[in-house]
Symmetry: C2
């Protein structure tokens, strides 16, 4: 195909509908005009019903999806499945950044408590302050329900650490144990390639072999 | 984010709507489950009206788009803009694989004739034979209208060459000049990295300097 010629200039679309769809696709993160055109031409080659279903699933997603009123995770109902389940230990709250982290932790099958989705991390660089996140509702939740432990499972980045520090200050007066997930050398990680901070912290926070074996 | 944990196991979606949208996105070429989830979460953060417009643009694209009855290019009307224009030289037909190639050639601003979109290339490996392409309608067009030149602008691949050979056999009896676009060293290309076939052909088909200057 001669399409590689396209990239250096504006595209000449033969159809308004085509142009519209390509423009919409290229608003997605990581999708440029060329990729958008490829996706749109792919859709044109698919069955009408399939493509209509695709379009409707996008519209319904945005219009009908809800956020759990307890933990703010994405949900089809007002209260999500985890918050409704009576098999989960509601007194343990794992605080995460977004729904992807809930999915990641659920996939480990190692956690049986509840969640609290913040909806982001404190990041002054991006203009995100504590009031933009679901921090007040977390404080409310800890104040009004019985909580045995708060696990802060946030990313090990500057924003994550800032958020952890802010949450710690807000929550420490409730006399509830606050923990963070362990930082250290990942499984399969080689010591010689680990950065000094990680390696240093993993020595300081070393655990008895019997604990690590579990 | 902890999302990198996800990739090795099935995703646990907290919502059916979310799962449905992620599955639909991951049917697109080059989009896996993780990318699909990223795109869907991006859409959830956008305005409702914007996302509805996106969904509708996809549905309308597939349901309302037409192919020009003359050249088979994608079009909003029964006959495309190029075929309707009286500024274009209708007696010259440039035969291309698909609409992307039309866009690429239009972008060069060097061609002022009409097009004929084949809709693919002959490729026995993929089960695409001459009858799957708009070849008969091209022969019809050459037989019934006045044609001064047929330019075969197909990719320099095995499939492209096969298609060119097939078209040549079908069209040669009409006494119309048949040309192919020039093969050679691309602009910015260095001789030492060019393959032998391209370099060899570019020596055999060398052009007078005055012609190359134009």
């Amino acid at each position: 195909m001669l399409e590689q010629f396209i990239y250096f200039c504006k595209m000449n679309f033969s159809s308004k509908l085509l142009e519209d769809a390509v423009n919409e696709f290229s608003k997605l993160p990581g999708v440029g005009q060329k990729t958008a055109l490829r996706l749109v031409l792919h859709l044109l080659g698919r069955e009408k019903e399939e493509v209509t279903h695709f379009g409707n699933s996008i519209i319904r997603l945005r219009q009908e999806i809800k956020h759990c009123t307890v933990c703010h995770n994405i949900s089809d109902l007002d209260v999500c499945e985890i918050c409704r389940s009576n098999k989960r230990e509601k007194e343990v709250i794992c605080v995460v950044e977004d729904t992807r982290d809930v999915m990641a932790i659920e996939n480990t099958s190692q956690y049986f408590g509840a969640y609290h989705v913040l909806g982001g991390l404190i990041s002054p660089m991006d203009g995100i302050g504590p009031s933009d996140l679901f921090i007040d509702s977390l404080v409310q939740r800890v104040a009004t329900t019985e909580v045995k432990e708060i696990i802060l499972a946030l990313s090990a980045t500057m924003e994550g650490d800032t958020t952890i520090f802010y949450l710690y200050k807000k929550l420490k007066d409730f006399q509830v144990p606050i923990t963070t997930i362990a930082r250290g050398i990942a499984f399969g990680g080689e010591l010689e390639y680990a950065d000094e901070i990680t390696l240093g912290r993993s020595i300081v926070t070393r655990v008895p072999y019997e604990t690590a074996m579990k």
